[in-house]
């Protein structure tokens, strides 16, 4: 397998311009002769489907939800970064680029990140022209805030619902194209297989989640924008339906999977209450702008109500350890610090797995009204879930799986190692390296969908002869259809006793314990023994009611869990082989005396991309070396 990143030569400021000029164009009259499939309708998929249809391509879009408006991008709360420098506070494209490379702990590709920073400004312009109601100041101009580890105000936001408003912008653009007949939308359809002919992506197989019909869709190019695989951990801030099936099918058809162990654990989620817990809810990181994080200095105080713990007995551990960033330290750093104090037995709440996020000082300083204006909806949500009033008593928070920086390997054109298969948004291994900064996911999803793929896919299609799509009688189509039907039949044939959720929960426990915030060789090796055992039990003891020819949510879940049980193993394998700590990947063997991540740039300054070599065989690890010519390798410090 060859990993050619196709990164343009020359000065980084000019790379994207030069590359865009070098890409071949498709004649406008020919565009309608090409069909493109877009799987996923979130920020990346929705934006791509709409933009490609506007260009004149024939587009079909697929979503497992009942409407493209419901993709999980909608749940992003905090904001979207852009190097507009509207606040004259020293921001620039280069600074956003620099912050993102450094924030990602030097495990992202420089040229991609620079392009991301460049197009960030176009995204805001585009969204405003679509009617996205960003927050504004009294003069009518756009408001910004500082967010998640940035020292400039570059985050645009729409109350605590930025993801929702950006997604609705993309959704409306997509619906417009649907209304014009330029996009055919397939809601409640789940991609089950990728069709590959002579190593080139030529279509997909889907299951209609209402009728159970399995059918093929053939095209000149396929774009996967199906999000991350964080639900491998079972408990996560992802929507319940988020899954890794599409990218996993692609992996098994030859697309390399890059850095699968790079997962982001978000520091500010509502703690778990019990075994019934089905998902975790995030509280926007913006709360850290005004909230102070602390735990009691002494274990003995943990059971006391927080109001009875005097100031001198509290440990504001982020402010203590990272005086210059304080409560705004990046996500990986903050999450690990929370784990550390809980491991020391100083966690709070009924389970001992929680830390306080306290607004008392902010309320005293700004008044409850101002706090309500800024965070009202978040406070309300917290109270609804926990039955505690955060205006009166500090919130309790704990880290939870939130995002996967890993994903399918793509080159500068967002094309995977399977020609014709493009991967966008969280589904690709992306521009975030080993750790994503706050408000950067929305930026990347929209950058890929609005401003990268419309150019790069043309460069690919210009080399594809129009009218060379395969037909349904091609053996590759029949094989792919049979594989999907076979998997459904195998699942129903098990006839065991345990529910799909049971196995998912078991997998999640193993993953969280061994491949979560802290990882070590012994734990990962143990996980690599236990996961195949759970997988074996799954295939021997799964209970699956109903049939495949109807709306069957248990079947949907079982299919996803079967894939999570394989993805989890690859995550652990990658974590084991990456013998260093970087960003969200913290190997306990590699830390400084103060407990900070210790990178090994000599041996691991690279992307690890895994090649599938058949079930039962160990996957092959390939390397794409990373060069840092514009931002010099340095140890991250937020002190």
């Amino acid at each position: 397998m060859e990993l050619n990143a196709r990164t343009p030569e020359g000065p980084i400021e000019k790379s994207w311009d030069k590359h865009r000029f070098d890409l071949k164009l498709v004649n406008p009259a020919n565009k309608r002769k090409y069909k493109i499939l877009v799987v996923g309708s979130g920020l990346a998929g929705g934006a791509a489907a709409a933009s490609l249809a506007e260009l004149g391509y024939e587009v079909e879009c697929f979503a497992y939800q009942d409407s493209p408006r419901r993709a999980h991008s909608i749940a992003a709360q905090g904001g979207i970064n852009a190097a507009k420098n509207y606040h004259n506070d020293g921001d620039s494209i280069f600074r956003l680029f620099y912050d993102t490379v450094k924030g990602g702990d030097f495990r992202a590709r420089e040229a991609n990140v620079y392009r991301l920073a460049q197009v960030s400004v176009n995204i805001i312009d585009q969204c405003v022209s679509q009617g996205v109601p960003f927050a504004r100041e009294y003069g009518g101009l756009l408001d910004n805030r500082s967010f998640g580890g940035a020292q400039v105000s570059r985050t645009f936001y729409a109350r605590g619902q930025t993801g929702q408003q950006l997604l609705l912008g993309a959704y409306q653009a997509l619906e417009r194209q649907i209304g014009l007949g330029k996009v055919k939308m397939h809601s409640r359809h789940e991609m089950q297989e990728l069709i590959v002919v002579d190593g080139v992506a030529k279509g997909i197989v889907t299951r209609d989640m209402v009728t159970g019909e399995i059918r093929s869709h053939l095209a000149d190019a396929v774009c996967l924008a199906t999000g991350g695989y964080g639900n491998t951990m079972y408990l996560a801030t992802y929507a319940k339906g988020c899954n890794g099936t599409a990218i996993w099918r692609a992996y098994k058809k030859g697309a390399a999977f890059a850095n699968p162990c790079f997962t982001q654990i978000h520091p500010t989620c509502i703690p778990v209450t019990g075994d019934h817990q089905s998902k975790l809810t995030l509280m926007s990181e913006s709360l850290r702008n005004d909230g102070r994080i602390w735990v009691p200095k002494r274990k003995e105080d943990c059971g006391k109500p927080p109001s009875q713990i005097p100031e001198e007995d509290r440990d504001y551990y982020l402010e203590r350890k990272y005086p210059s960033f304080g409560n705004l330290a990046p996500r990986d750093v903050s999450s690990r610090a929370a784990k550390q104090v809980c491991d020391e037995g100083r966690g709070v709440g009924p389970t001992g797995l929680g830390v306080y996020l306290d607004f008392e000082d902010a309320i005293n300083r700004l008044g409850a009204k101002k706090i309500e204006e800024k965070y009202g909806n978040l406070f309300e949500m917290y109270e609804r879930i926990t039955d505690e009033n955060p205006y009166k008593t500090p919130m309790r928070i704990f880290p939870a799986t939130h995002y996967t920086m890993g994903g399918l390997w793509v080159d500068y054109n967002l094309m995977s190692t399977v020609p014709g298969l493009f991967v966008l948004g969280e589904a690709n291994f992306s521009d975030h390296g080993a750790n994503r900064l706050g408000a950067s996911a929305l930026m990347q999803g929209l950058a890929d969908g609005y401003f990268v793929i419309p150019y790069t896919i043309g460069g690919y299609l210009a080399g594809v002869k129009p009218g060379t799509r395969i037909t349904e009688d091609h053996p590759a189509v029949k094989d792919a259809m049979a594989a999907v039907q076979n998997k459904v039949d195998r699942l129903f044939a098990i006839g065991g006793k345990q529910t799909p959720t049971h196995f998912h929960r078991e997998l999640g426990k193993v993953m969280w314990e061994n491949c979560g915030m802290g990882r070590n060789e012994a734990g990962l090796k143990k996980a690599l023994e236990v996961i195949p055992q759970i997988r074996e039990q799954f295939w021997q003891d799964l209970a699956l009611p109903g049939s495949g020819n109807e709306l069957n949510q248990s079947l949907e879940l079982a299919g996803r869990v079967a894939d999570f049980l394989e993805i989890g193993e690859l995550m652990c394998r990658d974590a084991l082989e990456r013998r260093e700590s970087c960003g969200g990947h913290f190997r306990e063997e590699w830390q400084t005396e103060e407990g900070e991540a210790l990178r090994d740039d000599e041996n691991f300054c690279h992307v690890a991309a895994w090649e599938y070599t058949g079930d039962g065989n160990a996957p092959k690890r390939h390397i794409e070396p990373l060069k840092f010519e514009n931002v010099h390798l340095a140890t991250r410090s937020y002190k």
Partner: protein
């Protein structure tokens, strides 16, 4: 404090869109008050699967009150008893030990039942496709700060844009009217300068699609506003009606002419 409840659920079961449905009783035992309503249903479903029975099908996704997927009528109220709360954020502490809870799908002709509690809300997408957008192809945007928007308008637009498209307004309305949903989108875009060029064609096209989907008309019951989990107000309906009247009076059929060259 965590308590445990024993409940009886009366759940609407319907095999598919063609079959007749009926209520079936299920016990829900030892339910923690810390659970969300959907987690309670998860527990019931796990038991059903283990017993070899068909679990209750219901739509859900984000489980944090923003995607608008969950959709059930609980004790006669869309999304249940708590104000401004979606089903997924409703917690069992809102119920008491021994309660009987009825659970039904959205009931409206334009939202046909697919299975049990799952309905097809594709009509909402078709209304948006008919005009619920600003025609701004990718790449056309001018600098985002080139056109200031008065803060009050931006805030009002955001209030309207907060709609999650769940359909509770339709389910709550005795006429199965979609006026709150449609007016929220009409208002959101009409309040912004970017939305002005298409303001009147938008409202006309969206209302025409709404009518063709056979949603009922608004007779000012106000049930929609009471049921809305996001606090969308009927003020939007008034704004839509004003725009609709104006569009009817000023309507000029499109003239295909000129431009070629």
């Amino acid at each position: 404090m965590e308590k445990h409840l024993n409940l009886t659920l009366q759940v609407w079961r319907q095999k598919d869109g063609k079959s007749e449905g009926s209520f079936v009783d299920y016990p829900a035992k030892h339910i923690s008050t810390e659970m969300s309503f959907l987690e309670m249903l998860d527990v019931v479903n796990e038991d059903l699967i283990r017993k070899g029975e068909d679990p209750i099908a219901f739509d859900h996704d984000c489980r944090e009150g923003i995607c608008g997927t969950c959709s059930m009528v609980i004790n006669g109220r869309p999304h249940g008893p708590k104000e401004r709360t979606t089903t997924c954020q409703l917690h069992m502490r809102s119920f008491s030990d021994g309660d009987t809870i009825t659970i039904e799908p959205w009931r409206a002709k334009p939202f046909p039942v697919l299975k049990d509690l799952i309905v097809d809300r594709g009509a909402f997408d078709r209304i948006i496709a008919a005009g619920g957008f600003i025609s701004a192809p990718t790449g056309c945007g001018q600098d985002a700060n080139a056109l200031p928007v008065p803060k009050q308008n931006a805030d009002l637009a955001m209030d309207a844009a907060a709609c999650i498209g769940c359909g509770a307004c339709v389910a709550a309305c005795p006429n199965a009217s979609a006026m709150l949903f449609v007016s929220a989108k009409v208002s959101h875009l009409a309040l912004l300068p970017q939305g002005q060029p298409e303001r009147y064609s938008r409202v006309r096209d969206m209302v025409a699609q709404m009518d063709s989907e056979e949603f009922g008309t608004c007779t000012n019951h106000g049930e929609c506003e009471a049921a809305c989990p996001k606090g969308i107000t009927m003020e939007n309906i008034a704004r839509m009606n004003r725009d609709f009247i104006k569009s009817s009076l000023t309507f000029r059929p499109e003239i295909a002419s000129g431009g070629a060259g």
